[in-house]
C-alpha cells in the first residue's frame, strides 16, 4: 500500500475521523488491481464487493448511460460497499490503463470488528454523512 493511497484515504468522508495509524491499518488490507483501457471497474445495478482508490490513470463515471465525470489519481469510489455490499449506483470504466487499490467488504469487516475504535469513528462519520445528506 503506497503512501499516496494513505493520503487519498484521508479524503474519504467515511474515514474522515481516522488518525494516521488507523488509516495505515485500513490501507494495509488494500490490494492493487489493474484494469485495461475500456474495462468496466464497477457496473451500475450490480452487487458491490469493493471500494477503490485510483493510484494512477483515469476512470469515467457513467450514470444511466450518461458520462458524468472523469476521475483521476487520489479519487475514490464505492466506499458504501464496505458497509452493506449494496447495489452500485454508477458504472465506472477505465479510461486508459488504470491502477487502483481496492478492498473488499470481506477484508474490511474483520478489521473493523477487531478494532472497536475504528468502528466507532466510522459510525460517527456515517452519522455526519447522513445529517449532511438530510440538510441538503
Amino acid at each position: 500500500m503506497s503512501g499516496t493511497t494513505i493520503d487519498a484515504l484521508r479524503d474519504v468522508p467515511l474515514f474522515a475521523d481516522l488518525d494516521g495509524d488507523e488509516l495505515a491499518r485500513v490501507a494495509s488490507v488494500f490490494k492493487e488491481r489493474r484494469f485495461a483501457d475500456g474495462e468496466t471497474v464497477i457496473q451500475q445495478g450490480s452487487g458491490a464487493a469493493a471500494f477503490f482508490v485510483i493510484d494512477s490513470g483515469a476512470a469515467q463515471v457513467i450514470v444511466d448511460g450518461d458520462e458524468r465525470r472523469l476521475m483521476g489519481p487520489g479519487e475514490h469510489f464505492g466506499e458504501m460497499a464496505l458497509i452493506d455490499a449494496g447495489t452500485r449506483t454508477a458504472t465506472v470504466v477505465a479510461s486508459g490503463a488504470l491502477v487502483c487499490s481496492g478492498v473488499t467488504f470481506w477484508d474490511f469487516q474483520p478489521l473493523v470488528e477487531a478494532n472497536g475504535v475504528i468502528g466507532w469513528k466510522l459510525l460517527r462519520s456515517l452519522i455526519e454523512i447522513y445529517r449532511s445528506d438530510r440538510e441538503n
Binding site: K31, E32, R34, S46, G47, A49, A50, R88, T104, D107
Partner: protein, 272 residues
C-alpha cells in the same frame, strides 16, 4: 501443512480447491495430466497482496516448470462446486513464467472477489469470504484440443461424445467454432463423424496471452482427429469413468502427438 505442493500431492479440497485436488488425483491414478503446482487459497491471497516472502516461495516452486504456464483458479468453497463458479473464476493461459505469476495471481484473486462473483455468491446463499486456490501447470501447445463427455449429454447413451478443434481448447469451450463432433461406442468404434467449421484457432503468444487466428478454409473443414486419436480419447474417457464414476465432462489436448487430460469433472447442469 504446506500451502504450495506439487500437483501430484494436492489432496485437500478445503486447502487447494476442487480442481487442484481432482487433477492431483488424476496424476496419482496415472492419467496424463501436465505437470504442475497447487497453491492454497491463503498463499494466493498473500501473493495478491504483494507479500514479498510469499511471492518468493511461489516463484521458487514454480520456476522448475519452466513456461509458458496455464494458471487456473480452483475454487475453495464449502460445497466444492467448482463448475458452478465457471465464468467468475478466471483461467489465464500462456503466462510466460514464474516472474509474471504474481500479477496473474492478483488478477485471479480479484476475479473471485469481483462484484459479479460476490453478487453470484449472495444469490446462491454463500455469505462466506471467497477463497481461491490456483493450479499452475505447464501450458501444452496443442495441435488439437476440445471437450469430451463419457455419456452422451443429450441422449444419455453409453457412448463417448467428443468435440474437437484446432489449437487451444478455448475455441471449443468459448463456443468460437463449430467443432468436429464424434461419437465413439464402448468398444472404441467410431459411430459418427460430423465435420465442423473451425474457422479460427487460439494459440499462445511469445510474450504471453493468446491470440485468435484464422484457419485456412481447407483446414477449417478438415476433421482434426484421426481413428487412432479417437480410440485413445475413448480409452481415456473409460479410464476416467473407472476412477471417478459415470458421466464425466473432460477437457483434453493433443500436443506433439501426446494426449493430455486438462480437466475431469462431473457433468453439471450449470455447464461451463
Amino acid at each position: 501443512m504446506s500451502e504450495i505442493v506439487a500437483l501430484l500431492d494436492a489432496h485437500d479440497v478445503a486447502l487447494f480447491g476442487s480442481k487442484a485436488a481432482g487433477l492431483g488425483q488424476a496424476l496419482r491414478d496415472g492419467l496424463p495430466v501436465p505437470p504442475g503446482v497447487a497453491l492454497a487459497g491463503a498463499v494466493v491471497e498473500a501473493v495478491a497482496s504483494g507479500d514479498g516472502e510469499a511471492i518468493g516461495r511461489v516463484a521458487e516452486s514454480v520456476r522448475p516448470l519452466g513456461g509458458p504456464l496455464a494458471v487456473r483458479s480452483s475454487a475453495v468453497d464449502e460445497d466444492g462446486a467448482e463448475a458452478s463458479f465457471a465464468g467468475q473464476h478466471l483461467t489465464l493461459l500462456n503466462v510466460p513464467g514464474a516472474d509474471e505469476l504474481p500479477s496473474a495471481l492478483n488478477e485471479i484473486w480479484w476475479s473471485a472477489n469481483s462484484d459479479a462473483a460476490i453478487t453470484y455468491r449472495q444469490r446462491v446463499g454463500l455469505f462466506t469470504r471467497p477463497s481461491v486456490g490456483v493450479v499452475v501447470q505447464l501450458l501444452v501447445d496443442p495441435e488439437t484440443a476440445g471437450v469430451m463427455f463419457t455419456r452422451n449429454p443429450v441422449s444419455g447413451a453409453e457412448e463417448t461424445v467428443i468435440e474437437a478443434s484446432w489449437g487451444l481448447g478455448e475455441a471449443v469451450v468459448a463456443g468460437r467454432v463449430i467443432p468436429d463432433h464424434f461419437r465413439v461406442d464402448r468398444a472404441g468404434e467410431v459411430i459418427e463423424r460430423i465435420v465442423g467449421r473451425k474457422s479460427i484457432r487460439y494459440r499462445g503468444l511469445a510474450d504471453g496471452g493468446t491470440v485468435e487466428e484464422q484457419v485456412s478454409p481447407e483446414l477449417a473443414e478438415e476433421l482434426c482427429l484421426g481413428e487412432a486419436q479417437l480410440r485413445e480419447l475413448s480409452r481415456l474417457a473409460g479410464r476416467c469413468e473407472e476412477i471417478y464414476g459415470p458421466a464425466r465432462d473432460i477437457e483434453w489436448a493433443i500436443a506433439d502427438g501426446t494426449l493430455y487430460l486438462l480437466q475431469c469433472r462431473a457433468v453439471t447442469t450449470a455447464g461451463g
